[in-house]
């Protein structure tokens, strides 16, 4: 296979996933609204004191982002698995890992990116100081793709299993913790007026690492799930 045709195939997968999601506009909006709802749940649970909320804000925003991405994970492969499209993908004459990468890209564009864009609004609701806004945006921008990439492996592994929704969270959450710690950490640091370079470069390293290995692992997991 020549590489132009590989490019066409990956572009094709990306376009198809985006079209499908676009047809159901609910698909684009729901992770966003979920993010908004979860960040709003916390003040309800812990009480409305503004100073308390301010200390919580970085953690709450990051945990909510993490949960929204995670909840949307089962959309990545589950429908394709149920209707047999995944078999077509696996039988395509292109490296499955690259096709997976375009599916992950579609997933991020549909969940991670909107979260990043809306996060400042919710940060205001939680009284996050405006100095920390840049750190919030940057850390989410680097961190959410990592969440999608790791999530792809979990979603591929749990494909076709009953109760997959909960199982995938279970597999994926432990791997999400470093991202959470450094992501929320960077925002908290920025809110306290400290340097965040170290945090950000760590997040960038995570991204590079998962970008290299996750598509490959997810592809292998998909082959196992189809067997």
């Amino acid at each position: 296979m020549t590489s132009p045709s590989l490019l066409a195939a990956t572009a094709n997968v990306l376009r198809r996933d985006l079209t499908v999601a676009w047809r159901r506009s609910a698909d684009v909006l729901t992770p966003l609204v979920f993010f908004a709802i979860v960040t709003s749940l916390f003040p309800l649970g812990v009480g409305p004191e503004p100073s308390l909320l301010r200390t919580l804000a970085p953690g709450v925003l990051w945990v909510a982002a993490l949960l929204s991405v995670m909840l949307a994970l089962n959309r990545m492969f589950a429908n394709d698995y149920a209707d047999g499209t995944l078999e077509l993908l696996a039988l395509s004459p292109h490296p499955l890992s690259l096709l997976v990468l375009s599916k992950v890209a579609a997933h991020w564009v549909l969940t991670g990116l909107p979260l990043v864009l809306i996060s400042p609004l919710l940060a205001v609701q939680l009284n996050l100081p405006s100095e920390a806004m840049g750190a919030l945006l940057l850390s989410l921008l680097l961190g959410t793709p990592v969440l999608s990439l790791i999530g792809a492996v979990g979603a591929a592994l749990t494909l076709g299993l009953r109760g997959g929704g909960v199982l995938v969270s279970l597999l994926v959450l432990p791997l999400y913790t470093p991202v959470l710690i450094f992501g929320a950490g960077s925002v908290a640091q920025a809110a306290a007026g400290a340097e965040i370079e170290a945090y950000i470069s760590l997040l960038a390293a995570f991204l590079a690492l998962t970008l290299t290995f996750a598509p490959w692992a997810a592809a292998a997991a998909l082959r196992v799930s189809l067997d």
Binding site: M1, S5, L6, A8, A9, A11, N12, V13, R16, T19, V20, R23, R24, N79, D80, A82, D83, G84, T85, E87, L88, L89, A90, L91, S92, P93, H94, P95, L99, L226, D227
Partner: protein, 204 residues
């Protein structure tokens, strides 16, 4: 040339078949027959490389299919029990996606393929509203569109009405006449106008 040598498949801890050998040359159709649960689907999925065999070899033009990888998959079209259709996309978009994946995008032929399986009236609808048999026809349209040499078909006639069965057998006949190869299973009777039909029987 597809060659199968001493193939054995096991599901769970139940051996399904073993020492299965056959060869398929251009222009030939292989009909896998056997009662329910004798392993026909398993055999077809193993041929594609979706499932792993317990023993034996599958060769394509002389080389092991697993070693060939993408090169083998590039010559293969598979239609299984599942149709591989995205309910949100229209029939044409489904075919375009399939063509893109197979690396053989030829957009002009998509309309013709839809016409062949008589789905043109449903061009503007999402595929999920199609009936059982219409979905099956859409899946089979991939074969017409992609023109791969090796077709592997699991119960291609299921859910098809009489007119569509005729249409499908015509497609099979044409494909064989062009030097294509077909492996299929079907509990339904069908007729292809060609002599080169061989049978592999799986027993419980």
């Amino acid at each position: 040339m597809l060659e199968v040598v001493n193939l054995a498949c096991v599901r769970g801890d139940r051996p399904l078949f073993s020492d299965l050998s056959f060869a398929l040359k251009p222009g030939e159709l292989l009909h896998v027959v056997g009662a329910n649960g004798t392993g026909k689907t398993t055999l077809l999925r193993t041929l594609c490389g979706l499932t792993r065999q317990a023993a034996g070899e599958i060769r394509w033009r002389g080389a092991e299919t697993r070693a060939l990888g993408d090169e083998f998959r590039n010559e293969l079209a598979y239609v299984g029990h599942l149709n591989g259709i995205q309910g949100e996309l229209t029939p044409a978009e489904n075919l375009r996606a399939a063509a893109g994946l197979a690396g053989a995008a030829d957009p002009e032929r998509i309309d013709a393929a839809l016409e062949t399986v008589r789905l043109s009236p449903y061009r503007g609808f999402p595929a999920k509203i199609l009936s059982q048999g219409q979905k099956r026809r859409l899946a089979l349209a991939r074969l017409v569109l992609l023109r791969k040499p090796l077709w592997i078909l699991d119960e291609p006639f299921s859910a098809l009405d009489v007119a569509s069965v005729t249409l499908m057998t015509q497609a099979l006949t044409g494909h064989l006449a062009d030097g294509g190869m077909v492996v299929l299973t079907s509990h339904q009777d069908f007729e292809v106008e060609i002599k080169n039909v061989t049978y592999v029987r799986l027993d419980a």
